[in-house]
């Protein structure tokens, strides 16, 4: 899988502070690593590699263990995503209603493959395996909002909306 490498791997001071606070908040709960990684990604959109060392120290783990967990789970990103994340369901139910054509359409319109971000940094495209919206296949999500019975035209409208600067901060 090719990940689009961009300049954002330098974390801002604000983000560093946020991460330190989150680590302090989580370090004493049982099985803290997963909730901590979620909180970091919720807060800044991804889990930068530079966080592995402070996380490992706080949770008494090795850096390798933290790296292993972050990279095991599809949900965690190690690079900053675009302003919006568009996920297309690839699972069987959506396939039965034309998901393959929908994903081809998305890749073509956005000119990216999965796990890549458009050149204007507006949209990161990701695959997803079932959104539990199988009675209304095919389904996609835009920034966690689920859409059902999505046609190519619906997808175009969602992409247009995501790219327009006014909406969805």
């Amino acid at each position: 899988m090719q990940v689009l490498q961009t300049k954002q791997d330098l974390i801002s001071e604000v983000d560093t502070l946020k991460i330190d606070t989150l680590i302090a908040q989580h370090q004493d709960i049982p099985g803290a690593l997963m909730p901590l990684l979620h909180s970091i990604q919720d807060s800044i959109g991804y889990v930068p590699e530079s966080t592995y060392a402070p996380i490992a120290k706080a949770l008494k783990l090795s850096i390798a263990e933290v790296h292993g967990v972050v990279t095991f789970y599809h949900h965690f990103r190690t690079h900053k995503p675009g302003r919006h994340v568009l996920q297309i369901c690839r699972a069987e139910s959506c396939q039965s209603m034309g998901a393959a054509a929908l994903e081809a359409h998305a890749k073509k319109c956005l000119n990216v493959d999965y796990h890549q971000t458009t050149t204007d940094e507006a949209i990161t495209l990701e695959p997803v395996y079932c959104l539990g919206n199988c009675a209304l296949s095919p389904a996609v999500t835009l920034d966690e909002e689920v859409f059902g019975r999505v046609s190519a035209a619906d997808l175009d409208a969602l992409i247009f909306e995501a790219r327009s600067p006014r909406v969805r901060v």
Binding site: M34, L37, C134
Partner: protein
Amino acid sequence: MATKIYIPRDSSALSVGAEKVAIAIAQEAKRRNLDAEIVRNGSRGLYWLETLVEVATENGRFAYGPVKVKDVASLFEADFLNAKPHALSLGLTEEIEWLKKQQRLTFARVGVTDPVSLEDYIAHDGYKGLKNALVQSGVEIVKAVTDSGLRGRGGAAFPTGIKWNTVLGCKADQKYIVCNADEGDSGTFSDRMIMENDPFVLIEGMTIAGIAVGATQGYIYLRSEYPHSLRVLNEAIAKAEMAGYLGEKILGSTHTFHLEVRRAAGAYVCGEETSLLESLEGKRGMVRFKPPLPAIEGLFGKPTVVNNVISLATVPIILDKGAQFYADYGMGRSRGTLPIQLAGNLKHGGLVELAFGITLRELLYDYGGGSATGRPIRAVQVGGPLGSFLPESQFDTPLDYEAFASIWAVLGHGGIVAFDDTVDMAKMARYAFEFCAIESCGKCTPCRIGSTRGVEVIDKIIAGTDTVKNIKLVRDLSDTMLNGSLCALGGMTPYPVLSAMNHFPEDFEIKKAKAAV
């Protein structure tokens, strides 16, 4: 008095615009100076009719659907607040044939109540099971669950009572109840519906489990793809705690039960119970060897009950109405009801809860209404990505764990995905291997390597290269995966692959014919 209007807040309903409809109705009511109260209920599970708007009348709720924002003005014009006719009128909700014929036990409140209203939950028979459990011993509660015949609804169908009994019999300073809410099978959404639309029933079921086996801490391991469920569960848990249904001294008793939601992170294999426990402990979701069983050495090495959402959500009604009431439904060794999910290429997709024994054909045509595209249904996959594909000749199989096992298929979590005649079964077989390759935890070789080799060999078959030889190779590889994998991911990937090859050989051999030309 204000007229009550019900508009679902379920995420599937939201996916087709329920939020916009709710806003439009509120605005229009205000503009017309009408006295209306909007209740955001759960979905009834008639998804092709979403957004399903209901209005309370003296005779019961009256339904309209599927409502779009553009229909709102005309609904008011037609005086829908007084249940007057409109092109989208569906009549009294409870009289809709699709719903009326169902036997909703676990889903009794789903779509009826406001999911996050504890008052509403209690007014609709909620927490009756817990009250009964509080005056019984652990042994008695476990006996009731065993006698009900409830089997694990996650897919493996292991008797729930037997699992509980093992944990009950263990001596330990700490025990856990873990709810497996990592509902990753395509074509399934019943767990999501419970969590979003009746979260208290799951909380109650877990609390009863905790009281029964002596566990004071529960975790709901929730897939990250369900952010909406997360919000609803957390809101419901906070309300249950406030009202004394969770926490220390539950309802003034000596029992303690704390509950927390933990998010998964998009790994399908974490639906396997030992991998799930590893993940909860903050590790990679690698499958554990069994034994030891999680019931004896589970989360953090302590005795742990790991049950699916539907299994746990079915416990309250068993404790409320009795084991025999539940066991009276069903057939053979499959007792009670199964929440079936109709998905994929079907006209009327949604949630059908019925006693075991209904046939696939009845579900696909009487409930599902045939394919959404209007073409013939050619194949059906039951039980998620690790379930077999069934051809039309097997549509008369009754939904029963043993009946499915006898035709080398699985019921799994009750998800049914229909495909029309445009489906290419060689591609579906390829996808099964591909999915296994993406999701394999990597611990055992048959799954980790076998899945990737499987994709490669199917690609050769699709390309028409040495078809006969390569079909034999896929069968051989499948045999290794079936017998040599550590868990169901590698061990059951051959189900969709081989069933596709066995029932739809033409999709594999056409390639051969093409190559011969």
